[in-house]
């Protein structure tokens, strides 16, 4: 028999078929759980609502009073992000000091106090984990109910959630840096606070600034999302326009959001280049 007539053998066929079979078996219940009905996207009701809504996306709503409202909301979003980040840093910095005391005395030599220090450190660590594990939208949802609708809820949500993240990153930066200057200072008798500010802080500062600026950029994005639950800014306006099925307003605000994110990107890049 000529060689060319031999059936070509696909070496990868069996594993691929097995993989697809397993994937389908796993996927089936998931599709049931997600109520996966693509047909519902094109049924008459949905076509009517979505078609009408998408049809109004163009032209954009560029009337002067609406643009003024968009500008005010965008500014509000920026302000929420800035104020929230400021509070987050103000909460995170002392917490990071509390958590990273391991840098100092107990490493130099065992002291009677170091069990007690652990008792402080561990709860502070848990607090940071707790703050950052609950997503910012959930915090916003809670604060909207605690302090009422409006930007205050957004500011607090960013402050609390980002304090958890910044605190963790700050103390990781301290511990990743060179600890010898701080040790030298403390071994020659300086206090812990002075040892930190003259031994650890100068080395850690550029990285801390760079990460904080990056977080501010994330806060701009997050504050748009949090607006959807009533925490003020561009998101709240977008939710209102969407509820009224006003496509022109929604598309204008999507564009504004896009520009805002670009702006935040550029500012953050510039700041990091200058100061970090």
């Amino acid at each position: 028999m000529p060689l060319a007539l031999a059936r070509p053998h696909d070496p990868a066929a069996l594993p691929r078929i097995a993989f697809v079979a397993v994937a389908i078996a796993l996927l089936w219940p998931a599709l049931r759980l997600t109520e996966f009905h693509p047909a519902s996207l094109v049924d008459a009701r949905s076509r009517e609502v979505m078609g009408g809504f998408l049809g109004t996306f163009f032209p954009l709503d560029l009337s002067a009073p609406f643009l003024a409202l968009v500008a005010k909301s965008a500014l509000e979003t920026l302000a929420i992000a800035t104020a929230g980040s400021f509070l987050a840093m103000a909460i995170a910095f002392p917490l990071s000091l509390l958590v990273s005391r391991s840098l100092s005395i107990s490493r130099i030599g065992p002291r009677p106090g170091h069990r007690i220090a652990d008792l402080v450190r561990l709860p502070a660590r848990w607090l940071l984990v707790f703050l950052r594990s609950i997503p910012e939208v959930v915090w916003a949802l809670l604060f909207v109910r605690a302090v009422g609708l409006g930007p205050a809820a957004g500011v607090l949500a960013i402050a609390i959630n980002y304090a958890g993240m910044l605190g963790k990153v700050y103390f990781e930066i301290y511990e990743a840096g060179d600890t010898r200057p701080a040790r030298a200072l403390m071994e020659s008798g300086s206090g812990r606070i002075a040892g930190f500010f003259y031994g650890v802080f100068p080395v850690a500062l550029p990285e801390m600034v760079s990460y904080s600026v990056y977080r501010w950029e994330c806060a701009v994005r997050a504050s748009v999302v949090m607006g959807y639950v009533g925490a003020g800014g561009l998101g709240t306006q977008m939710e209102l326009s969407m509820r009224m099925l006003n496509g022109g307003e929604v598309s204008t605000m999507l564009l504004a959001f896009f520009l805002l994110v670009l702006l935040a990107d550029a500012i953050s890049w510039l700041l990091r280049k200058c100061f970090a």
């Binding site: 519902s40 949905s46 979505m50 302000a79 104020a83 994005r221 959807y228 939710e239 099925l245």
Partner: protein, 254 residues
Amino acid sequence: MIAWLPLVVFVLLAGASFWFLGVDLAGLFGADARGAMLEYASKFFPPDLSGAFLARVLGGALETLAISAVGTLLAAAAGLALAVPASGRLGTVVRALARLVLNFLRSIPEVVWAALMVLAAGLGPFAGTLALALHTSGVLGRLFAETLENTPPEPTLALRNAGSPTLAAFFYGTLPAVIPQLVSYALYRWENNIRIATVLGVVGAGGLGQLLYLSLSLFKEPQAATLILAMLILVAVVDGLSAWLRRWLGRSGS
């Protein structure tokens, strides 16, 4: 001295922000507001751990997992379909167009997609799945395209030169080389998407988030506390699992 300048500017900007927003810091942390917040927080205790409610929470958690899994899978498929043109295999014009689509998908946040999809598909997990799929396909498409661009073209060219059709050359020349990277990107995104799927529900897109939104709206704070706990546990379990999986893959892969 100059090093303190950015800090001073930042504090001033933050002060201006508080003023612009009309948020009174002293009022927020004053005795009245603190008391009100503590009172609100105390309503969350103890969490509702009754069997019937726990069963609902479990259902919500499974729904969240399913939303994230199906959404990521759809996104991986759509992302790969978009990544092939976006990697420049079909010409520069197509490449630019595909990149534009990817950028558009990626720059609209999941929650906004979810709000749109709730209008299109109605309240429920399907809207959340679609929203995740749309945003994630933009993210994965871009990552996949970069991977494809960085793959050496020689195996594919060899197959093409030996006369194999384009599609077969792609499946046997390119795909085997990039699959591990694509899978690791998709898994990383899945992990991310589980977090996002838990919150998408606040705009009505199913899962734990929707239950949380309902319980808070009905002033059932103990139930909300259970749901928040469930979110924390879900994310922690997934984190642990993925760390373990990564270690295991790393060991068997090398």
